[in-house]
Amino acid sequence: MASSVGTAHQRLGASHAPPLRRLFRQLREPGGVEIFIGGGILAVLVIATVLAPLLVSQDPNAIDALRVLGPPNHAHPFGSDAEGRDVLVRILYSYRVSLSVAVGSTLAAMALSVPLGLLAGYAGGWTDTLLMRPVDSLQAFPALLLAIALIAIIGPGSIVVLLSIAIVHSPILARVIRASVLITREQPYVISARARGRSALGIMFLHVLPNSLGPTLAQASILTAFAIQFQAALSFVGLGTQPPTPELGLMLYDGRDVFTIAPWVEIYPGLALAIAALGFILLGNGISRRLEAGRQR
């Protein structure tokens, strides 16, 4: 009893600790620094792109004939592109498409794969085989090729790209969630819930799912980073987002003929892509490091 009072007290104390000290404590946890930096990068990007109209006054599609391929200067820190459009302004607006398509594709992939992996892993046996075999055969295609095949059928565009990436990433997520469900379903609390006569559906969604989601979230974050690159790559060959929507891959596509005389049209959008991907990679790595430390404890 005394010890439980003690821990409760300590816990209370922890929540009353100065925010800075709490932050340092969090940072010292495994994966803390990665989660902090990755999450920080993403928070800054989201805020910047949402507040873009307040941060910069120009329109991302505003053409300025006097600033064609203008080098970076004080007013245009990242220079201008072949149509005189401000590169920094376009990057800020580009994140809207890039981040929404990437995050959207991951959410769509999770909506497809989580119920599938959960059911396959929890039910096992024939259900498992029946559900997972078709999923596996999707992986018989190189991911980018499958996306390109889907685009060839439906036609290019942001929504098609979002769905293609979701379809390509679903089998990976389904595998990950199924693997953690296989472990979770053997845990004592699941067995005891079953013994108490809870319905299979209740056990799956109330006990198994919340305790199996960790690795899936870590993987989902990494896949979102790939989705950002994927989408940009598709736009870069003209199969993704269509002009004049500002999008990072499209900016790189537009600049491919002029970058030897105006390198800024390719350098900054590419760096912007890499930074966004880095944010999701660090976040995903941090989450999985923390989960691993939790398992070893």
Binding site: P142, A143, V237, T260, G270, L278
Partner: protein, 317 residues
């Protein structure tokens, strides 16, 4: 021995349903195009007569099962149909294009293995700075998109230093050295990301193996650390590396599509992307089919190799 034969046989047989499922998807590809695929291919100005001719040429006027059986039968006999714009048989087109893509992917994989494995070993057992360097290389390499890396390489080596061509291709049969000179930048761009995966896998596998009891036993026996790392540990770390090579080969084939477009390398990827813009569906279909078949066969080969490397997998012990 018989269990090993059984493993090989089972694995080969398991490939058949995968190939079948893939062939159905590729077959349906053209038929799933919204609206009338033939009309889409020919454009809105095509006369109804011409649409009808092409439709019967492609066999679209027959039942779906007949169409599939005809298509797959022809494909198995090496007849993939023809480019509907230039009327060149697809088999000829692919025979020209495929070696280029295979050279690009093979060289990229060689680069990735040649640098990734040593760097992975150093990242596992090297001094502190080397470990940090390897970790930074992994995070950086995964974050940077390969086509942007390609652009930056062109900027540096072709734009600033003027030592390598920015794009283009010389057939290996014309001039081997010139072919390689044109291949350097595409291979670097495509191989860099794979290098990072090989590095990460090698490092993780080495750390796992070096912490296992048998390595402690080898150390206790007084075997030199160098011998433990390079002879004993690396051999066991090879299994996950082979697996990753198989999986990453798919990423290479996919990535090649983008890199070929960037560097104007006339491979299958560039063929497919251009065909999409021309709505040249038979070419898209043929290209996708060939790349997918190669990927499935590479996966089969890597599975068989690691079955041979690790007797536990093939169930011989």
């Amino acid at each position: 021995m018989s269990t090993r034969v059984g493993f090989v046989l089972r694995r080969v047989l398991l490939t058949i349903p995968v190939l079948f499922a893939m062939s159905i998807f590729v077959f349906l590809m053209i038929r799933l195009v919204p609206g009338d695929p033939v009309q889409t291919m020919l454009g809105i100005y095509a006369t109804p007569d011409r649409v009808a001719t092409i439709r019967s040429e492609l066999g679209f006027d027959r039942p779906l099962t007949d169409q599939y059986l005809m298509w797959i039968g022809n494909a198995l006999h090496g007849n993939l149909g023809q480019d509907f714009i230039s009327h060149v048989p697809l088999t000829d087109l692919l025979a020209q294009r495929l070696p280029v893509t295979l050279e690009l992917t093979a060289l990229s994989m060689i680069l990735a293995l040649g640098l990734g494995i040593p760097l992975g070993v150093v990242g596992a057992v090297g001094p502190r700075w080397a470990v940090v360097f390897a970790d930074l290389l992994v995070v950086g390499g995964v974050s940077i998109p390969s086509f942007w890396l390609g652009i930056m390489l062109v900027l540096l080596f072709a734009g600033v230093l003027h030592v390598l061509p920015p794009a283009g291709y010389v057939p290996i049969t014309t001039d081997v050295l010139e072919n390689l000179r044109y291949m350097i930048l595409p291979v670097l761009a495509l191989g860099a990301a794979q290098l990072v995966y090989i590095l990460r896998t090698t490092k993780a596998a080495m750390l796992t193996v070096l912490g296992s009891p048998y390595v402690i036993f080898l150390r206790a026996k007084g075997i030199s650390e160098r011998r433990i790392v390079f002879v004993h540990a690396l051999r066991n770390a090879a299994i996950p590396i082979v697996t990753v090579v198989g999986i990453q080969f798919g990423a290479l084939l996919g990535g090649a599509i983008i890199i070929e477009s960037l560097f104007a390398v006339p491979g299958v990827g560039q063929l497919v992307v251009n065909a999409i813009f021309q709505r040249n569906y038979p070419v898209v279909q043929g290209g996708v089919l060939v790349i997918a078949v190669i990927f499935i066969l590479v996966n089969l080969t890597t599975d068989l190799i690691y079955g041979a490397l690790d007797p536990r997998i093939s169930g011989t012990s």
